[in-house]
Amino acid sequence: MTGERLRNHPTVILDNLVQTAFVIFIVLIFTLRIWASEAFLIVGGVLCLLTIMFYWRWRKTFIHFNENELVVERNTLFSMKKTIPYTKIASININRSITNRIFRTSTLKVNVNSSSNAIVPEAVLVFKMELAEKVKQDLSRTGSKDEPQAEIYHASAVDVSSKDIIIHGLFSQSTLQTLSGFFFLGVSVIQLRDEMMRPNASEGFQGLISLGMFVLLTIVPTITSIVHNANFKVYREKDIVYLEHGLISKFKTSFPVAKVNAVHVRSTFVSRLLGMSYLEAEVIGLGVDTKNKRPVLCPLKKNEVITAALRELLPEFVYEHDGIRQPLEARKPIAAKAAAGIFSIVAASIILTLLLRSVISGDTTLIGMARTLAENIFLIIGTLMTLGMIVWAFGYYKVAEMSLGEDLFTFVSGVVDRKETTMLYDKVQMVTVSKGPVAKRYELAVGKVSLLTATGGANVSSGYFPEAQLNKVHKIVMARLADGRYEGKLDKA
């Protein structure tokens, strides 16, 4: 590819037009009633102008594959020249949208390790399918030390069936989100029943809003997850991990192992009852296609399968360790935190209930159970949150763990939905050790590690551990930086 100068496939003009037309169409819906014909004329004119603009932009945009870097250059009114060194590329994704499928093209999304552009690709290139594959292979090769992979069949490192994807879609959603969804379902049933019993049944629509919230919180994420993760395949070749999935839009991604910042083994409450968990990786750029979610390396499977998948795909993130539990004294700051939380919840729910009762006191349309529910909604939520806080306090003490290895360290957190995060010291960007007045009395603190993640800069927090223990994290980071074992030098080695 070196030295070649290419243009994007002309279908980018169509793609841009379709996207813009969609936005204009939405605006049109709201303005249609007032000035329908004028609106169509204006939109038509705008689209004609945009077609010329997008064509001009396509014609003046060139992609250069130089020896050491990819250059995207645009010589329009707002000229732009973007240089991406191959060594800085964190991941390359191939997407095939409906437009791509019609015209047999692929969209390549190139991402670099940058927190500011974590969910926006650094470069978006559209080529014919075969050319896109070749470019991806070449870029993957130049970004790593390995030879290019021939287009041969690779079996998935983990056997993932459609049933697994459905189970993942159903049980990988956060428990809080699922419970909130079912709370709204319960509310909607009561509201709909009351609305139907009214003399003028057509007036009520609050039940439908609650039902909509249930759909939004539970049904939509489940279906999205199933559609997104269908046809799942993951494998590793030398130091590159390849990931493929998607039912309607196809996603093909690859990333060098050196660009993985951390791995999470996650389990929700229900999945833990089933002895299952799932594996995620923090790689910049992989959040682009997962709508801000971390890329799944293995969907919900039995815990032993997840352990095997991690060993197979990312053995660099496997180390023998025994988790350190929080000391007994940790119960005191946890209890203090829970007490402060409960006090705030109780105060807020009482004030909000009084406010709400004042507001709805004159509303005669609210009757029966719906009125009782409306009057006490904040008390119900407050009671549930107080119970949640008590459960959290007991669970938090039992769950939080940490372990410090030579190259890796792990934090375990999450009372209901659990997360075990294994991180490389060399990927740590910042460390914060915090201690409140109660924790300070017992020389305890909470550690927070800032990392570059798939969705940008993010923090991973520990439980309450001895301050000296937590200080080891930044001491190891600094020692590794001092003796040259840090990321920059390792990448060059």
């Binding site: 390790n113 940058s114 927190s115 004030i351 009084l354 406010l355 004042s358 507001v359 740590v428 960007q429 910042m430 460390v431 914060t432 050790v433 915090s434 201690k435 409140g436 007045p437 300070k440 590690v449 800032s450 990392l451 570059l452 800069g457 993010a458 923090n459 930044h474 980071v477 600094m478 930086l481 001092a482 840090y486 920059g488 030098k489 060059k492």
Partner: protein, 173 residues
């Protein structure tokens, strides 16, 4: 005051950390006062509209009272504690910041991880000749607040030089 915050005659803690300039308390107070005035105006408007719409909700007085108490504490007490518990150290290889009112945070930023250094100051800090130094890493942004402008620029220059030399060192390796 906890021993980690006590300063000697050279103005340094036993670990070599520096305190901020005492002017920062004035800046915090003026800033909070402005927020208080804006909040009072908003709350007054909300109350006027509530009464006009036929309802004055007495529980909202609790919220107003809480907000006023919060601002009074923020003006009278918080700046004193914040000043007493803010220490920073710019080392050869890292930036250390100790700060907090109720929860003390020790923030450690390896200089190797810094991508960008910025000196920022709003209109109030500008009046008092103070500025913040913001350091961007791939994992987020850390800052040293309420520094004297000359000190802020000195730290920013030093960090910029250090970042450039690290990059050059990496290139040659």
């Amino acid at each position: 005051m906890a021993s980690e915050f006590k300063v000697n005659e050279d103005g340094l803690t036993r670990e070599g950390y520096k305190p901020l300039h005492p002017k920062m308390k004035k800046v915090m107070r003026v800033t909070t006062l402005i927020y208080l005035i804006v909040s009072v105006i908003i709350l007054a408007l909300v109350q006027i509209f509530s009464v006009n719409l036929g309802g004055f909700y007495w529980p909202s007085l609790i919220i107003i009272l809480f907000i006023i108490v919060y601002y009074i504490v923020s003006i009278l007490i918080i700046p004193i504690i914040y000043y007493a518990r803010y220490r920073y150290n710019v080392g050869n290889d890292r930036i250390d910041v100790l700060r907090g009112v109720f929860i003390i945070r020790h923030i450690i930023v390896p200089i190797e991880r810094i991508h960008q250094v910025e000196v920022t100051r709003g209109p109030i800090k500008n009046i008092f000749g103070l500025a913040n130094v913001s350091m961007t890493t791939a994992g987020g942004i850390a800052s040293i607040e309420y520094l004297e402008l000359s000190e802020a620029e000195k730290i920013a220059d030093m960090l910029n030089d250090r970042v450039v030399s690290i990059l050059k060192e990496r290139e040659t390796n």
